[in-house]
């Protein structure tokens, strides 16, 4: 099928890209690609809630930011040789990515559980807005959280380490992020074809039906929301590591909006939709930036043309509608 072809092309492109960049002596292109891959990961996370779960969350920056702060807090303590907490038991900071990832995933999953339990009482636009509300609460909290820099955020000077890799080398860090993305995509593919995926899909379309066969749609959706939040949280940790910096802007509603734009732009409920969306958006941002001081106008116009003429997102445009997941 054509969408299968699109996925394959994307995959090959992502893997081959750094080789091209190295050959063309464009090292920054690798960093840019890393950014795209990480944002894609965040969007893949959102897509699970939004695309398959039908949960349009405008608060995913919360998880992105929590992941980011997990990295910022742990690494800044490790960097300053100050313990994270001494009572009731001693917790030290760390500069090890695997540990940071674990913390980021757990923390954002926990947050998603709490936010999800309350938000899932509502549906539709109300759900959009209540998730936004929780996102904004965390945003304002982070702004005034002086212990970790408030609006200025937390800087770490050197990227964290991953066993067996030199993360300071752009290609190696790119490879690591791509690995994570592909792993998560594989997980995503498995989940949507699993019994859980089937039930989640039905819960989006007809919660009453799901209920009458003896399943609880809200619990299915909550599980999807938690999974989604955890993945976006992981992306947040990587993003913070890419920038060696975390600040409340990672928690802002604009960030939530951008992640959502990636998903819609690429095509909702398509495995590679968010990846296409993020890659295209980052590429546009990069290539239009030099065009004019007012390049946002052109970005806007392009996006507008895409929505008007590409039903079902860019993947839909290329691969045709229907089929999909």
């Amino acid at each position: 099928m054509r969408w299968g072809l699109v996925n394959a092309v994307m995959l090959i492109g992502l893997v081959a890209f750094p080789f091209w960049a190295l050959a063309a002596d464009e090292p920054f292109m690798i960093t840019l690609a890393t950014r795209a891959v990480i944002l894609a990961l965040a969007a893949v996370g959102l897509n699970i809630a939004l695309g398959w779960g039908g949960l349009v969350s405008l608060g995913h920056a919360a998880f992105f930011g929590i992941g980011g702060y997990a990295m910022g807090i742990l690494a800044s303590h490790a960097q300053g040789y100050t313990p994270l907490m001494e009572w009731p038991f001693l917790i030290e900071g760390t500069k090890s990515m695997p540990v940071i990832w674990l913390v980021a995933v757990l923390a954002s999953a926990l947050a998603a559980l709490g936010i999800g339990m309350l938000s899932l009482r509502t549906t539709g636009v109300y759900f959009i807005m209540i998730t936004l509300a929780f996102g904004q609460m965390l945003y304002y909290f982070a702004i005034s959280w002086t212990a970790y820099g408030g609006e200025d955020g937390v800087s770490i000077y050197v990227r964290n380490g991953f066993p067996g890799l030199n993360t300071l080398v752009p290609v190696e860090f790119y490879g690591l992020c791509l690995g994570v993305l592909l792993g998560v995509l594989a997980l995503n593919a498995a989940v949507i074809h699993s019994p859980f995926g089937l039930a989640l899909n039905a819960a989006r379309q007809s919660p009453d039906r799901v209920r009458t066969v003896g399943l609880d749609p809200r619990r299915l959706q909550l599980a999807a929301f938690v999974l989604s939040g955890a993945i976006t949280g992981l992306a947040g940790a990587l993003f913070a590591d890419l920038n060696r910096f975390v600040s409340p802007s990672m928690l802002s509603w604009q960030m939530s909006g951008e992640i959502m734009i990636f998903v819609i732009l690429g095509g909702t409920a398509r495995l590679f939709g968010p990846v296409v969306g993020a890659v295209v958006f980052v590429a546009l941002e990069h290539s239009l930036g030099g065009l004019s001081e007012y390049w946002h106008v052109f970005l806007g116009a392009l996006l507008l043309l895409i929505v008007l003429f590409a039903r079902g997102g860019l993947i839909g445009l290329v691969a045709g509608r229907g089929g999909g997941s």
Binding site: S206, R209, G214
Partner: protein, 247 residues
């Protein structure tokens, strides 16, 4: 033996008493039809029996236990299968996927994240059997939204079948079916009562008189009569309030 029963159900929407002390029971092996004018509270009664509405007072009993406090899924897991007055289906999915959902529900859990559902033989068999029985086997890979109205009603029944329930509750399964469709479905339901009793809400009097072992007449939230087909046909109140035939 009583399979499902309502005891003195009261449910108000604001000033309107949609159920005003409704008591009724469904016995093993029977089809019990509930008829009554539009807005009499039939769907409201079904919603309370299945758990999607909580009664203001009164109790619901299923399979010998008080289930008034149980949720819809919990009652479904006990063996209560419902079809909707307005089809509630996963429209973007295939017909088979909808049936698989029922089978999944019957199994009691959807918490499996990795094994592709299509490769689960047991599930597929249950689902395909049910489709076969209602005559939808050929449409298994059709998108549900592309089904005709009548086929959707058949799918509703098929999903109920996948659950191998101990009682069916059906809200106007014939609505919108043409004469032919009604005849087929009537014959099918006739056979189904051997598997599990059916509480049937229906306006199609031909079907009701052909199928029902007992009939209850609900008017303005109250049961005004319960009896055999012959008794109801003869009841002048019913004729005046509902059938519109000269008494």
């Amino acid at each position: 033996m009583t399979v499902l029963a309502a005891h003195g159900l009261v449910k108000s929407f604001g000033a309107l008493r949609a159920s005003d002390g409704v008591s009724l029971d469904l016995r093993a092996g029977e089809i019990h039809a509930v008829i009554g004018p539009n807005g009499a509270g039939k769907s409201t009664l079904i919603a309370q029996l299945c758990g999607s509405l909580i009664p203001d007072s009164g109790t619901v009993e299923a399979f010998g236990a008080d289930v008034t406090a149980l949720s819809v899924p919990a009652r479904a897991r006990l063996g209560l299968a419902r079809t909707f007055q307005i089809s509630a289906l996963a429209m973007e999915d295939t017909v088979l996927a909808n049936a698989l959902l029922g089978a999944l529900g019957a199994r009691g859990s959807a918490w499996r994240f990795f094994r592709p559902v299509m490769r689960d033989k047991a599930l597929r068999e249950t689902a395909e059997d049910a489709l076969e029985r209602v005559g939808l086997a050929d449409a298994a890979t059709t998108r549900t939204a592309d089904l005709s109205h009548g086929q959707r009603r058949q799918l509703e029944v098929a999903i109920a079948l996948t659950m191998a329930p101990k009682a069916f509750v059906m809200d106007e399964p014939m609505a919108g079916l043409g004469a032919e469709g009604s005849k087929t479905l009537t014959a099918f339901l006739d056979g189904l009562r051997a598997e599990a009793p059916i509480l049937l809400v229906e306006h199609d009097m031909d079907a009701v008189f052909a199928l029902a072992d007992r009939i209850s007449v609900l008017v303005a939230g109250r049961i005004i009569a319960t009896g055999t087909t012959a008794e109801i046909r003869a009841n002048t109140d019913v004729r005046r309030a509902y059938l519109g035939e000269d008494a």
